[in-house]
């Protein structure tokens, strides 16, 4: 059986928050996230005759939203010149003792309580995760979003961000390492996340 679309007057209440959360996760800016959600609803209304009912309504909206988000990111990088990044030099310099190349006392990884199932139930953990994502440098965060959330291919991401594959690789690692560090400081080293 094919799905049909609900009345447009119900869309914002039914899907607004979910679309907004999705957009905010990727764009990390409240105003921009609201704008792309609004554009999504308007586009959906204009093209509602093209809804074929093969997917459910939420997936259809998310599909439109994804295009809007990628367009937004693409536009913001179109004008910028390509940058050259050192291959993770800075991060590695700050993590290790420059003389010995071993872990520094203050950056050595502490033991985490890695019970993922318990973590997923803790809303405070998700708040910390969101704030860590929001604190990533913009370009690294955009690279990370396109790769991890949109699951785009390397060459597509490079076109959107106007960078080389090596730079993308550096940025993705930077983002992962910074997220790890942020979660360690803001969650795992605190009482809630400490290993028993």
């Amino acid at each position: 059986m094919k799905n049909s679309l609900s009345n447009p007057s119900e869309w914002v209440d039914k899907h607004g928050d979910a679309l907004y959360r999705y957009a905010l996760l990727q764009l990390r800016n409240q105003k921009t996230a609201e704008e792309v959600v609004q554009e999504t609803f308007v586009s959906a209304l204009q093209s509602k005759d093209r809804f074929e009912g093969r997917s459910n309504e939420r997936s259809w909206f998310i599909g439109i939203l994804k295009h809007k988000i990628i367009d937004h990111i693409r536009k913001s990088y179109r004008e910028r010149a390509a940058e050259n990044l050192d291959v993770l030099g800075d991060e590695l310099e700050t993590m290790f003792d420059p003389e010995t190349g071993h872990w520094r006392k203050d950056t050595a990884p502490t033991e985490w309580n890695l019970n993922a199932d318990q973590l997923l139930e803790k809303k405070e953990f998700w708040e910390v995760l969101r704030s860590c994502l929001a604190n990533l440098p913009q370009k690294a965060a955009d690279a990370f979003s396109l790769k991890e959330i949109e699951e785009m291919k390397t060459e597509e991401i490079c076109k959107v961000l106007n960078i080389t594959p090596t730079n993308l690789w550096v940025m993705l690692h930077r983002a992962r390492m910074q997220l790890r560090r942020c979660l360690e400081v803001k969650w795992f080293n605190k009482k809630e996340g400490r290993a028993k």
Binding site: Y20, L45, E111, E127
Partner: protein, 89 residues
């Protein structure tokens, strides 16, 4: 003389990252395996990096449907604005 098989944690980190992008030489690969075998801190570190990656995937995989924690909601004003814009078309 430096023994090539004994990497510092920093050298091991660099090789670990490079291994994600291209294949290592056999010597580099063995040195990395050996380092991870003897260094508990590095094993812990890279396990945590992978863990973060998996948590992010869980988060993004569920965000379309689920209400994760006290996930941020649209403000009342923007909700009304969106409803009005849909009416106006």
């Amino acid at each position: 003389m430096k023994i090539p098989m004994m990497l510092s944690c920093k050298e091991a980190a660099r090789l670990f990252l490079e291994a994600q992008e291209h294949s290592l030489s056999i010597g580099e690969y063995l040195a990395l395996i050996l380092h991870r075998f003897v260094c508990g801190l590095c094993r812990r570190y890279w396990k945590q990096v992978m863990f973060v990656q998996n948590v992010i995937r869980k988060y993004t995989g569920n965000i379309q449907e689920a209400d994760f924690g006290s996930a941020p909601l649209l403000s009342i004003e923007s909700r009304e604005k969106m409803k009005n814009s849909l009416k106006g078309l």
